[in-house]
Symmetry: C2
Subunit: 157 residues, 2 copies
DNA sequence: GTCTATGCAAATAGTTTGCACTTTT
DNA sequence: AAAAGTGCAAACTATTTGCATAGAC
């Protein structure tokens, strides 16, 4: 899906729900699809403030993000730090995350074998699977290297 | 590990950190290990209020829960509803969770094959795995049955 | 013109914290 | 006596909401 098609899909989504295409929504939408990174609502709000043009309030940022999640344009990721992260899903197959507990770096991965076993578990338990959430926490390659240079047993918590 | 041993382990943990064994800690500890269910801080606070004996404040409940997590006596589970759940780990091997999005029911499962693939993914990405978090969200057997009785396409969101 | 969206500030919810006082060690 | 713990209420953080006004359709 390219930018024009995505934009069209968004406008269709709004129409089907009798929602309006406001400048705020248009600008938030454009900004969100201009990045492939994970970001928080507050970060997006900062981006919007930095832009020229119509001001966008924090409330509208939050409301529009929820809308985008409902419309399956975006997904949320909870890295366990107290604030939700968002990422758009277009051109992005489903994936899970590795979160570095030292520097916050987030990497993505997909493993169809894990997915298959998850479905098997759900079936065994009689659950109708809707979605799942898998996060692997640890020290990323770079942070592991840094840590290895320090004397062991010293404040490694 | 039986109750006496657990109690002893807790006291040892307090000693190594030069922390004190207060009636509040003792009572919270006992209460927490008396249940195998997942519970929230607020729920635990309610239990403590209902008990006879020294009053325990909300702040102490929170502080003691954090302490128990640090000491690896308990683990947290974030069901995505805004409040953390706690569960003790003794006599409980590591496990992941199935969360029913309709009724909130939580079931546990373990799948060594999934665990193994997780380790493989981490290795491939150069991460030193510390812990992970896998939640499968869906409709539990009972809620799926209930839902099947309703006409389709009707407010199934 | 109708109905929805926006901005603002206040409200919320779960959790944390500062502080004066109490208790354990 | 020293050091840590407790209870209380206030503070915090991320997010949501009520309401009056503005804007899309």
């Amino acid at each position: 899906m390219n930018q024009a098609k995505i934009q069209h899909a968004f406008e269709e989504f709004l129409k089907t729900r009798a929602l309006k295409l406001t400048p705020q929504r248009r600008r938030i939408f454009a900004r969100v699809f201009a990045t492939h990174e994970h970001f928080s609502a507050e970060t997006l709000y900062g981006w919007m403030r930095a832009e020229e043009g119509s001001r966008v309030s924090r409330a509208t940022v939050y409301r529009t993000l929820s809308l985008l999640v409902e419309g399956n344009f975006m997904e949320t990721l909870d890295p366990g730090t107290g604030e939700l992260l968002y990422e758009h899903v277009l051109g992005h197959r489903h994936h899970d995350h590795l979160v570095c507990t030292a520097c916050g770096r987030i990497e993505e991965f997909t493993d169809e074998r894990i997915e298959a076993f998850q479905r098997e578990v759900a079936l065994r338990k009689g659950f109708t699977l809707q979605y799942h959430n898998l996060r692997l926490f640890g020290s990323c390659a770079s942070c592991t290297r840094k840590r290895a240079r320090r004397p062991l047993g010293k404040a490694n918590a």
